[in-house]
């Protein structure tokens, strides 16, 4: 039974979001039906740590229970580890894949809980979308990873010279994981634009979207790449 946390949201809105999830091309190969065997939960790392159950999410979608779906869309999906251990489901469901789709819908619709879940994450989105590499060496900062011990500090203090003593020529970088050609990055920008990913960011973080759009539009203009 759903709680009363989201009674202020109209049923039509919950139904609309559910329909959006269901319309994803992958949905029908990710969900067949659930006989509650619990194999997904037994294999799930998040279920051991959180009050989280890939079985319940799958069953909720199978039952088309839009109230409970909306609650899970807000409260549960960001606990998933996306390890896909649950793919061993004997019904061939992919609970992790369903969660991927639900997360996409949550982002595209700029849900408040999604903004909260991704609040600390926007600098990484910026990094990956603008550079094509996700974690750069210069992100290893003591204040960002205080629980990783003194070695993080050693890396950040010696970063420039430690990158130079790496034999592969492509790794002498600090702001990128490796040297990425300009043209390569511009092609990536074109992909983000043509597939609507940049628009998705607009719902999540308008400021971030505007900065990235400016960078990407300038670059695309310069490179002459068509991104429509």
């Amino acid at each position: 039974m759903p709680s009363d946390r989201y009674t202020d949201v109209a049923l039509e809105e919950k139904q609309r979001l559910f329909n959006e999830v269901k319309a994803d091309a992958r949905y029908e190969s990710y969900l067949y039906g659930c006989y509650e065997c619990g194999i997904c939960v037994a294999a799930c790392p998040s279920a051991r740590f959180y009050d989280f159950s890939p079985r319940k999410i799958t069953q909720t979608l199978a039952r088309e229970d839009v109230e409970l779906f909306y609650e899970q869309l807000n409260d549960d999906v960001w606990n998933c580890s996306q390890c896909f251990s649950c793919n061993r489901c004997p019904r061939q469901n992919s609970p992790g894949g369903l969660i991927t789709i639900m997360r996409e819908v949550a982002v595209k619709n700029g849900l408040r809980t999604t903004k909260e879940a991704l609040a600390g994450y926007t600098r990484i989105i910026y990094k990956i979308m603008t550079t094509g590499t996700q974690v750069s060496p210069d992100m290893l900062q003591e204040d960002a990873f205080p629980d990783w011990g003194p070695q993080v500090k050693a890396v950040s203090e010696n970063l420039d010279v430690w990158r130079r003593v790496l034999p592969p020529e492509t790794l002498h970088t600090t702001g990128l994981s490796w040297q990425v050609e300009e043209r390569t990055m511009h092609e990536l920008y074109a992909i983000w634009k043509m597939t609507g990913c940049l628009d998705m960011i607009g719902e999540l973080d308008e400021g971030l979207h505007d900065i990235m759009e400016e960078i990407m539009d300038d670059a695309l203009e310069e490179s002459g790449l068509v991104a429509e």
Binding site: D24, A25, R26, P45, S46, R48, F49, S81, Q82, C83, F84, S85, N87, T100, E104, V107, L118, Y121, I125, I128, G132, T133, Q134, V135, S136, P137, L140, D147, W148, G149, Q151, A154, N158, V161, W162, R163, R164, V165, L166, P167, P168, E169, T170, S177, W178, Q179, V180, T184, M185, E187, L188, A190, I191, W192, M194, T195, C197, M200, I201, L225
Partner: protein, 399 residues
């Protein structure tokens, strides 16, 4: 065959039963046939695995072609960014074996880490990123070799979607053509740890250090064998062919012991978003479910794995747990780094262990490496770079 008993210690099955595969019951379509068929229909160019290749057994008994050389190294953002000895060791091993390879700059990350963490992307974008990289590899004439377990798993997923969804295929093809690139699907999607498996005997013959006194536990990466399960290496000699042989096969070939533990199948706790913004989960899972269990049941000298995220979460999570007096403290690295060390690679110039958190000194000493000497050699490189005597450390310095 006397040494066999030692080599398979821990992965030898405790039963005389032997699984005989019945060809009539092989499940799962062979995607590769569909890939060639789409190639014949002009839907895409199929890039064949270059010769010479190794034929490795996979989960359902099919053989997978693993290229030995002419490989295009699809690097990992997390490896190159935070554990650069990982990628460096892969390259170093290629050089030691004399295999021709290409380290591209026209390569982006697969962007799947971000996708699995934040969902700020979509199916078409992910497929386009993959196909752009495949296209870039094809244009160099080299064959993609994927360094990251997540990239490997995600690309297998993308390949599955592109084969089965004509609409998606058209959409992505259109994007790739707008970028002015050919639309290419490689014949096989190959992970570097499969290449390691393919060359394990060659590695063994070039081994410099005796590692028979080393006990390792192996963490198999979820995205290596749980996404698109059929396409992963399973060797009848390892766990009776019932668990993936990636990593384990290489470590045993080098003569080290692989010990089993009861959370072998568990995830490392990386979580994609968790490792960055919700690390209480990652720390707890990595230490309580993995490292502590390994310590208690196998007391390994080292944890070996084959993925970016797994090395990161298993290594970095131990510091806080150690501060709380938990039973942790096992160095973590990739099997490529371990193999490089066994073949005589410099622990800092090549395997770059100073980027790792858990103390690795005991392990290195047990392998017969003079850690202080190695560190001072590395420091002298650092000094030379600082003083402008040397711009970069190069391959000539380490081979």
């Amino acid at each position: 065959m006397d040494s066999l008993d030692v080599r398979v210690n821990g992965t030898k099955v405790e039963t005389s039963r032997k699984f005989e595969r019945d060809p009539e019951t092989v499940r799962d379509e062979d995607l590769r046939e569909a890939i060639w068929e789409l190639g014949r229909e002009g839907e895409w160019i199929v890039q064949p695995v270059p010769e010479p290749y190794y034929l490795a057994p996979t989960k359902y008994g099919r053989l997978k072609k693993i290229p030995l050389e002419h490989t295009w190294h699809h690097k990992s953002c997390g490896q190159c960014g935070h554990i650069p000895g990982y990628s460096t060791s892969i390259f170093w091993l290629n050089r030691v074996l004399g295999y021709d390879y290409f380290d591209p700059r026209d390569q982006t990350s697969c962007t799947a880490w971000n996708y699995y963490a934040s969902a700020t992307s979509n199916q078409a974008a992910q497929a386009a990123v993959a196909m752009r990289n495949f296209s870039a590899a094809y244009e160099t004439g080299y064959f993609p070799l994927i360094h990251c377990g997540t990239s490997f798993g995600h690309y297998k997923e993308v390949r599955h979607e592109l084969v089965h969804d004509a609409k998606l295929r058209r959409q992505v093809r259109n994007i790739i053509e707008k970028l002015g690139r050919p639309f290419v699907m490689p014949e096989e999607i190959v992970h570097y740890s499969e290449w390691m498996y393919a060359v394990r005997e060659e590695l063994a013959t070039r081994r410099q250090l005796d590692v028979s006194g080393i006990t390792a536990t192996v963490h198999p990466a979820c995205h290596y064998y749980k996404l698109q399960t059929g396409d992963a290496i399973y060797d009848p000699e390892i766990y009776g062919g019932q668990r993936t042989a990636a990593v384990t096969g290489v470590v045993q070939a080098l003569g080290a012991n692989v010990a089993d533990y009861s959370t072998w199948y568990d995830c490392c706790g990386f979580g994609f978003r968790h490792i960055l913004v919700q690390r209480d989960f990652t720390r707890s899972f990595a230490t309580l479910r993995k490292i502590e269990v390994m310590k208690q049941e196998a007391n390994p000298d080292v944890v070996l794995t084959h993925d970016t995220g797994c090395v990161t979460s298993l290594d970095k999570s131990q510091f806080a747990a150690q501060a709380h007096g938990r039973n942790v403290g096992v160095p973590v690295m990739s099997e490529s780094q371990f193999a490089a060390l066994a073949l005589g690679a410099h622990p800092f110039r090549v395997t770059q262990l100073h980027w790792h958190s858990v103390d690795y000194r005991l392990l290195l000493e047990k392998m017969g490496i003079d850690v202080d000497k190695a560190w001072s050699e590395f420091q002298s490189d650092v000094d030379k770079v600082k003083q402008g005597e040397m711009e970069y450390l190069t391959w000539e310095h380490v081979l």
